[in-house]
Amino acid sequence: MTVTSEKHALDAETDEEFRARLRDFLADSSPGPRPKDPGEKVAWTKAWHATLVDHGYAGPSWPREYGGMDLPFARQVIYQEEIARARVPGPLGTGLGIVAPTIIKYGTPEQKERWLRPMLRGDLVWCQGYSEPEAGSDLPALRTTARREGEEYVVNGQKVWCSAGVIADVFFTLVRTGTPKSRQKGITYLIIDRHAPGVTVRPLKDLAGGAVFAEMFFDDVRVPVTDRIGEENEGWPLVRTSLGHERAAGAMNQAATYRRILSELVDLARERGLTVDPLVRDRLTDFEIRVRLIRYNAERIISGILTKGEPGATSSVSRLMITAFEQDLHEFAVDMLGPDGIVLKASDQAVQRGRWLQGFLMTRASTIGAGTAEIQRNTVAEQVLKMPYDPAMPPR
């Protein structure tokens, strides 16, 4: 089929037909059971995303020239709902939601060509290099330096909390090209090859015993100037770029995912005869209420975008709601299991492969990563409620 006739087919299709077509595809091409071996799991996930791209089912909001689907927003929402429903693996690394919008908005044609499609296919796994040991919530305090030498930057410093750092091929980082005190006015956005000489990646064992995160060390790493996004010293505004629409559609994916997880928890409670306990029942009801509210909030954010072009105040607070929800849910699940709650996923006695305990541990990060809940609350208070700035904080 030619591109033109495909586009015609898409235009003629109703939302429900689109949903059915997507659902059929996801059912027919499902990647099969998740391998236990970490290396096999990476290959399995990459293969799935390559399949999606090759059949035209990836990057719902992305332009077609980079392998995307270029869907109208309402269809992106349907896409996210069906992806959540199908329980297929998400993309590896942290590139899609964060660096891709930046490249789309600020990248050169050559950079787009080189990075976007491979990112979508999973051929290149991306990893975030923003945070530093002394610069997490106070990101403008970062100290990794880049010194210009001809057509190269020479990078020295350290990054931390790099999700997927161990399996990544490329890092998108913020480095200091200005004076040490220049704060956000002296920051440059660089893409660094993981295999460049002078790059060391050290897995950071997390409290669950895994190594989702890594530390990265740069020792005289030479980065071509052509791998800089935007202008020198003007990297800071790029950090805030995001495809707001894609995030909003992703909220629907989250709502659908949590709906499924809660239903599985209620089933587990029922199997174990616990729903007759009024306390258990009331806690489950609390989650039932919240999971529906998460969905209503997502719908409100989406309808705000569709009707007014902006998501409204709910979008600022929905993350606070969701992170608290997933922490509470997993902790309750562990409590509900009693002693079975402590059995690690490595044990063959683990209930449901130890997923609830694993979730309890891993969701500790959800109120820390991507800006702590405390910083998030400050932002909501200052930007939505217009409360005064804290004079003790550095100026923004």
């Binding site: 209620v266 729903t275 029942r281 009331d282 489950l284 009801t285 609390d286 039932e288 209420i289 529906r292 509210l293 209503y296 909030n297 719908e299 409100r300 309808s303 705000g304 569709l306 009707t307 105040a313 709910t314 600022s316 607070v317 606070l320 709601m321 405390e374 998030q376 609350r377 400050n378 909501v380 208070a381 200052e382 939505v384 409620l385 217009k386 409360m387 005064p388 700035y389 804290d390 004079p391």
Partner: protein, 369 residues
């Protein structure tokens, strides 16, 4: 999928808010509350004549505007925000929605035009002991004498029962549950105001001693099932407005109150509490709105959405009202400050018409937990 508010909705909100800012300031609320009045009569009539607020959810053939639960929710959110002293919840949300839900044309044409015009104050009394919209709690007895019916029983916690021109009463007619209209001044009706927490809304005990009643011809159980959901959502909207108003009040105060040489709103301890409240209030708004939309569309999810909105919005309002007092410090504890009116309204509306615990139990039942 729930669609958002339209421009017309925003306009309705704006008009209502402007009207109430002028006619129902907190100073006026306080004056009415302290005088023991159930409304400012002039304002009540302007609401009906100028804005058609009483008729918002009444079909056009009865003189209303022909809208539904979503639009009623917008009006109630604004009335709740302003703490307006008026028998609106009772007349429009309770009695009005009961009449529009039932199919008895005689009852509808007898009462709906008067409600839409603002000429009739009405209310609803279902469960005798608790005031909830719960058929299981109906113990009053109706006996027929030819065309007429006589009702005997005691209805507690009747909202605006004293000032009502008409009360819709649930009673047992033999094996059957039935609904009746009873005129407020009918022989055999004795109404006593209840000394209770909320000075901005009146609650009565209504004694019926062979009171003359007219039967509403319909399946009362089915009508009340729907009405319970509609009322839950209406009250949730009012509570959302109250919660939003207390959050605004608290935030404004923290911007101007200086302590340790800086506005207290610049302290994280204060900011975080306000941000958490905003999370609750935004969710409350979406809960009430989503439930109203789902009920309008007769979506199967309507009843569970109504129950969760009832539970969430009630607790959010009370939480916000308590935080408002705390964030005001000492002044918030005084009679002269308005914060206590919200606390009293919040706690009262949390406990009338079904507690959050009752609504949560309903969520569990409906969601199959």
């Amino acid at each position: 999928m729930i669609t958002g508010l339209t421009e017309e909705h925003e306009e309705l909100r704006e008009i209502t808010r402007r009207f109430l800012a002028e006619k129902s300031s907190l100073t006026q609320v306080r004056k009415l509350a302290e005088s023991g009045a159930n409304r400012d009569d002039a304002v009540w009539h302007q609401m009906a004549d100028q804005l058609m607020l009483q008729g918002i959810a009444i079909p056009e053939e009865y003189g209303g505007a022909g809208y539904g639960p979503v639009e009623l929710g917008i009006v109630l959110e604004e009335l709740g925000r302003a703490l307006t002293v008026a028998p609106y919840l009772a007349t429009v949300a309770l009695a009005g929605q009961t009449l529009t839900t039932c199919s008895d044309n005689e009852a509808r044409s007898a009462w709906l035009p008067g409600i839409a015009e603002g000429a009739v104050i009405a209310t609803l009394a279902v469960a005798d002991e608790t005031g909830e919209i719960d058929p299981a709690g109906v113990t009053s007895v109706a006996t027929s004498a030819g065309e007429d019916w006589k009702i005997t029983g005691t209805k507690r916690f009747v909202i605006d029962g004293v000032g009502a021109d008409m009360i819709i009463v649930a009673a047992r007619a033999g094996e059957e549950l039935a609904l009746f209209t009873v005129k407020g001044d009918a022989e055999g009706v004795r109404r006593e105001p209840l000394a209770q927490l909320d000075p901005t809304r009146q609650v009565a005990t209504v004694n019926l001693d062979n009171a003359l009643a007219v039967r509403i011809e319909d399946d009362a159980t089915a009508v009340l099932a729907r009405v319970a959901d509609l009322v839950a959502v209406a009250l949730a909207a009012e509570q959302t407005g109250g919660a939003a108003a207390t959050l605004d009040m608290a935030v404004e105060y923290t911007k101007i109150r200086v302590q340790f040489g800086r506005p207290i709103g610049s302290f994280q301890a204060i900011k975080h509490r306000c941000a958490d409240l905003l999370t609750e209030v935004e969710s409350a708004r979406n809960a009430a709105f989503s439930a109203a939309s789902l009920l309008t569309q007769d979506d199967p999810e309507g009843p569970v959405a109504a129950a969760l909105a009832a539970a969430w919005c009630a607790t959010t309002y009370t939480h916000a009202a308590k935080e408002n007092i705390q964030l005001h410090g000492g002044i918030g504890f005084t009679w002269e400050h308005d914060a206590h009116f919200h606390l009293k309204r919040a706690k009262t509306s949390e406990l009338l018409l079904g507690t959050p615990a009752r609504h949560r139990a309903r969520v569990a039942d409906l969601a199959g937990i």
